[in-house]
């Protein structure tokens, strides 16, 4: 597990395209958003709008890591024969899986922290309690798990590296755009608002915004009992679904 963790995190950190799309690109949007999208806002709420932008781009960093980088990593290992090599060795697939997921969590946490720090540097401010912060961290974990689940599904079923990465990037960008991660919930049409509540990455993102910036910025109450249960259940379902697909199909003997 430690070996896979070390290898995977080095592969994430040493590939410039991964660094760009997971860290530099969200940071770029934080910089653009913090100074371009706050022009007409009353001065007393600008800092919180910037906070909401920083949080949404941190969520996007987590999404990119899980939905695009992870399947790219899986598809790359399969395409270059590493999975065949691993299958011939006396190792447990679950340990390999855990190593990958832990590396993903570590890398995506680093990305989210960097994006948030840049947002803070741009004037983003947050309003939270310690309990709220702990809850927000829980929702961040759910986002990572859901994103990893989607990523494992893509990496398992799309065999080629470029196909897997492009599908991952496409899924991350499109779902972020239509589910309110990158756009205000209130501006979404009714149908997409329903999708935003079902799509756990979006609902967890709204919950984080609710907890760290304020309820006015979330657009609805993502912390209601029903909504929270839905977010938790669908996140875990996606994760378990991805896990089952990965362990059954990527490690399956033909």
């Amino acid at each position: 597990m430690t070996a896979t963790f070390g290898k995977t995190i080095k592969e994430f950190i040493r590939q410039k395209t991964i660094l760009f799309w997971t860290i530099a690109w969200p940071i770029l949007w934080v910089l653009i958003g913090s100074f371009s999208f706050t022009g007409n806002a009353p001065s007393e709420i600008v800092a919180y709008i910037r906070g909401a932008i920083a949080l949404s781009m941190s969520v996007f960093a987590l999404m990119t890591a899980g939905i695009a980088n992870l399947p790219g990593n899986i598809a790359q290992d399969r395409e270059r024969g590493l999975l065949s090599k691993l299958m011939s060795m006396p190792i447990n697939p679950w340990r390999d899986f855990l190593g990958r997921i832990l590396a993903l969590l570590a890398f995506s946490s680093l990305a989210a922290i960097l994006v948030t720090l840049v947002g803070y540097g741009c004037g983003a401010r947050f309003s939270y309690s310690l309990t709220g912060l702990a809850q927000a961290l829980g929702f961040l974990l759910l986002i990572s798990l859901a994103a990893a689940g989607i990523g494992m599904l893509i990496g398992t079923f799309i065999k080629h590296v470029h196909g897997a990465i492009m599908s991952g990037v496409g899924t991350a960008v499109v779902t972020a755009a239509i589910s309110g991660v990158m756009t205000p919930y209130a501006s979404l049409p009714w149908l997409l608002q329903q999708f935003a509540r079902i799509y756990p990455i979006s609902s967890a993102s709204a919950a984080i915004t609710f907890l760290l910036v304020g309820k006015d910025y979330a657009g609805y109450d993502p912390l209601s009992a029903n909504q929270t249960a839905l977010t938790v259940v669908i996140s875990l379902l996606l994760f378990v679904g991805g896990l089952v697909a990965y362990s059954r199909f990527c490690w399956r003997k033909e």
């Binding site: 430690t2 070996a3 896979t4 070390g6 290898k7 080095k10 592969e11 040493r14 590939q15 290992d77 395409e79 270059r80 024969g81 590493l82 065949s84 090599k85 691993l86 299958m87 011939s88 060795m89 006396p90 190792i91 390999d96 003997k253 033909e254």
Partner: protein
């Protein structure tokens, strides 16, 4: 292994393969693309399951003998963004070695494959030969007793190929059991025993020299010609055993019974059809020629 078969849907890739490889033996399995050799290697390495038949490695099923097998797939599976040493440390970690034990073993392996000085370079900066040697090292950890190499020299330049084969010869001296999968006759010549595989069946199996002797082939003439046409091939086939000639990149290989007698006649016949023989030389038959004789197929695709 006995009566081993493998089917993908209706396509039977292995058709009842029987094979026994002794401990310490260097066995080469040679055949063209699609003959089933990679499938056979991957079944031994426990990457695929047979459809039927029996296979045992030191008395165990392949999935229970993984710790004894070092499998090197055809693809370059090492991570290009990690250094050579980091790649080996990764595999050592997977095998459960402690950090200090892994460092010691990795140092020894790098020394064995001649990559000590390049250990801290990223694999992306390695040549094809260096990368393949590194990948072989992943299959040389202590306790591994069977090395399975799938087309290891494919894509290597001649110099890198020779260096790589030198490494394999050294392993042979260490009594490691080696199964080499190849479509290159010259690589298979290094083995103590060669199996020729075609269409999912082993069609011949013996020491390289015995295979050549049994084929009955005498001299082989390599002819470089100014043009390659069906007419030229037909002319040359008149001088070749069973009227078979093998097309090569630069001309033809002709299987002569009497080279001295055939040469002037061949030159005259080629001249008459407007084709010049720019180079002619004679050599002993290779394993690829033996395969060609037995199957009327070439092991390698010719351009």
């Amino acid at each position: 292994m006995a009566k081993l078969t493998k089917k993908y849907g209706d396509n039977e890739v292995l058709k009842g393969v029987n094979l026994q490889i002794a401990e310490g033996e260097f066995y080469a399995l040679m055949g063209p693309n699609g003959s089933g050799k990679t499938t056979l290697a991957s079944i031994i390495a426990s990457v695929r399951s047979p459809t039927s038949g029996q296979i045992e490695i030191y008395g165990k099923k392949p999935e229970h003998a993984k710790e004894l097998i070092g499998y090197v797939p055809q693809e370059n599976f090492s991570s290009p963004v990690l250094t050579g040493a980091e790649n080996l440390m990764y595999f050592a970690g997977l095998l459960g070695y402690s950090k200090s034990a892994a460092q010691k073993i990795v140092e020894e392996l790098l020394n064995k494959i001649g990559l000590t000085e390049d250990a801290s370079k990223r694999v992306a900066d390695y040549s094809g030969g260096m990368r393949k040697r590194l990948e072989v090292a992943t299959a040389l950890f202590p306790d591994i007793r069977i090395l399975i190499l799938d087309e290891p020299t494919t894509g290597l330049d001649p110099s890198a190929r020779r260096k790589f084969l030198g490494l394999i010869q050294e392993l042979r001296r260490e009594k490691t059991t080696v199964l080499l999968i190849t479509h290159i006759g010259a690589d298979a010549e290094l083995a103590s025993r060669v199996g020729l595989i075609d269409d999912g069946q082993i069609i011949a199996d013996d020491e390289p020299e015995k295979l050549k002797k049994a084929s009955g082939l005498k001299d082989v003439m390599n002819i470089e010609t100014t043009i390659k046409t069906e007419e030229v091939a037909n002319i040359l086939s008149q001088f070749s055993e069973k009227k078979r000639v093998l097309e090569t990149d630069v001309g033809y290989r002709v299987y002569c019974q009497d080279v001295d007698k055939a040469t002037p006649e061949m030159v005259r016949a080629l001249d008459a059809c407007g084709c010049k023989a720019t180079k002619m030389d004679t050599e002993k038959p290779s394993l690829e020629d033996v395969f060609f004789k037995l199957t009327e197929k070439t092991v390698r695709e010719v351009s």
